[in-house]
């Protein structure tokens, strides 16, 4: 049971990091990312491949994954937003995400396709004894989560953070005030992408085995749900939302014992239906979420 709780907490940490990334891109920056799953897979595979094929150590591989996803996200934002509106951006991110998943599935020489990559090394895997490894990984994931939170909080309170919100609220006003809206958006999307890359590399450290079935659209569903539940723009809210959603999601595994008539496909389907319904219900009844976005207070 303890072991289950530790593993659950690790999974919560990944999804919280992912939720923070989406919260930065969408909650603060107003940029919808429907290609989240693809970028997440890109991060996981970049990290794994850097270690397995290029022989990089875990630290370099993580940095590499962050850089790869950040660059890809930045390019997507640059190409699309140079000309288009938000509606198009959502469609393009969805398409790019699908495309990345197809590359992973079909480029057998690189990703071993549906078989997946095995034997992914872990950070300090030969130093920390195996019995204690899960605690070490939990500590690492927590530290990284707090690190990302601190990083985003600093950004949010910096001048750039104000530009980010200005661009979300009204890009014309931001442009009129002399802010470079396009460049700001590219940076927003790339920073979020880097964080997604970090989450992806943690994913591959944790499972040590990655294959395309781990990266399905349920990732998009629960991450959006986490951000909406937590309150768009509120970083701590996103973490809280991710924790709540993951506990519900993992807890629903026990439904299988309660209702033995369901097979695993049906159970998976029910979970996604519940997430989708929860997402819409939150949008309708509690669009502001549970926590508020940070606001600069002038007087105490």
């Amino acid at each position: 049971m303890i072991s289950f709780l530790v593993l659950l907490s690790i999974v919560v940490c990944f999804s919280a990091i992912l939720a923070l990334a989406l919260n930065f891109q969408w909650g603060l920056g107003g940029m919808v990312n429907f290609g989240l799953t693809g970028f997440y897979a890109l991060g996981a595979y970049s990290a794994a491949l850097l270690m397995l094929k290029a022989g990089a150590n875990t630290f370099v591989a993580t940095l590499g994954a962050i850089a790869v996803v950040a660059v890809v996200c930045g390019v997507v934002a640059l190409v699309t937003l140079r000309v288009a509106e938000e509606d198009y951006f959502a469609i393009v991110t969805l398409g790019v995400g699908e495309m990345l998943r197809l590359v992973v599935l079909n480029e057998d020489w690189l990703t071993k396709g549906a078989l997946g990559l095995t034997g992914i090394p872990r950070p300090l895997g030969d130093v920390v004894p195996p019995e204690q490894y899960q605690y070490f990984l939990l500590g690492l994931a927590l530290a990284l989560l707090l690190g990302v939170l601190a990083f985003l909080t600093v950004i949010q309170r910096s001048p750039f953070g104000r530009v980010v919100r200005a661009v979300r609220e009204d890009d014309v006003v931001a442009a009129t005030l002399g802010k470079n809206v396009l460049w700001a958006r590219v940076r927003i999307f790339a920073i979020g992408g880097g964080i997604i890359g970090l989450a992806g590399s943690l994913h591959s450290f944790y499972y040590q085995y990655i294959d395309p079935t781990q990266f399905t659209n349920i990732v998009i569903a629960y991450t959006f749900m986490a951000v909406i539940a937590g309150g768009r723009g509120a970083h701590r809210g996103a973490i809280l939302g991710a924790a709540a959603v993951m506990v519900l999601l993992e807890g629903s595994r026990f439904l299988k014992d309660a209702i033995p008539a369901l097979d695993s496909d049906q159970l998976a389907a029910i979970r996604i239906i519940l997430i989708g319904a929860g997402l819409i219900a939150l949008l309708i009844w509690r669009p502001q979420g549970f926590l508020r976005e940070y606001r600069l207070k002038v007087s105490p």
């Binding site: 429907f34 140079r82 393009v92 969805l94 699908e98 495309m99 389907a269 239906i273 989708g276 819409i280």
Partner: protein, 285 residues
């Protein structure tokens, strides 16, 4: 030639959902990410009536399409109506969630295994060098008929003119006494029927499986954007073009990356002609 013909078939199938996307975008001003899943659900509905209750496919499809029309009105009342004033992004996210729900209802009911309609097998016909099976002929006939009906509806009938008026300028339409709630209901109904028929055609062309509709999502959006979002004629041309180019692309690259074609198409359109082939240039206010 055969590839070109297959491309035309793919394109013809996509005309219906592309038209649905463009109509909805025109009236409600948001891209509906649930169209794929809506097609899936309608196709499974037709499958239930056809293969399980033994109705002929034609009857089953008509019933499924009309049912989907009403279902869309109901879905709109429950999910999109309360969110109408919240802007396109919220509506998009809601439609994504809706898509997950619908696709997984189909998965819950029928599992992941591929199924197909009960159709009599027939030998493919041959015209010159082109092989053409019965399903493909039905597809062309049905889609052409649907497009003609849509064209009649949009240009000749009062409801179609009202829809175009709302799409063009909702406030001006309101001034002229067009009740937008009623138009929105009609738009959803027509959308549902188009998606229902489209879903059955997709199921006939390939097989029925839960992601069958969402596999077309990017291509359908590309078709609608290529034609100019909001322009019915453009959606038709865009769908044909995307279908043909996607199929022809398999001659020069791996068929698995067919989805790359609509994506590249979107990028090219957005860079060189953001308003699409038939769309009005978008003026920012």
């Amino acid at each position: 030639m055969q590839t070109l013909f297959n491309g035309i078939i793919t394109g013809v199938i996509m005309t219906l959902p592309a038209l649905a996307v463009t109509l909805l975008f025109g009236v409600l001003k948001f891209p509906n990410f649930a169209v794929g899943a809506m097609m899936t659900v309608a196709a499974y509905l037709a499958f239930a009536l056809n293969a399980q209750l033994g109705l002929p496919l034609l009857v089953a499809s008509v019933v499924a399409a009309v049912a989907m029309g009403f279902a869309c009105i109901a879905i709109d009342q429950v999910t999109f109506k309360p969110l109408r004033e919240r802007g396109a992004i919220t509506l998009m996210v809601a439609s994504l969630g809706l898509g997950f729900i619908l696709e997984n209802i189909a998965r819950f009911a029928y599992g992941n295994t591929a199924r197909s309609f009960e159709l009599e097998l027939a030998r493919p016909f041959r015209f010159f060098d082109i092989r053409m099976n019965k399903e493909q002929m039905i597809t062309i006939a049905v889609a052409t008929a649907a497009m003609l009906l849509m064209w009649m509806l949009l240009t000749r009938l009062p409801i179609g003119r009202a829809m175009r008026a709302v799409a063009d300028n909702a406030e001006l339409a309101l001034v002229r006494g067009i009740e937008s709630a009623r138009i929105i209901r009609w738009t959803w109904f027509i959308t549902g029927i188009l998606l229902g028929v489209g879903g059955v055609l997709v199921g006939m062309d390939r097989a029925l499986e839960p992601p069958m509709g969402s596999n077309y999502l990017i291509s359908v959006f590309a078709a609608a954007i290529l034609g100019g979002l909001g322009s019915p004629l453009g959606a038709f041309a865009g769908a044909l073009l995307i279908g043909i180019v996607s199929e022809l692309s398999t001659l020069v690259m791996a068929p698995n990356y067919r989805i790359g074609v609509p994506l590249v198409a979107i990028a090219i359109i957005l860079i060189f002609r953001p308003q699409g082939l038939f769309g009005q240039p978008y003026i920012r206010k």
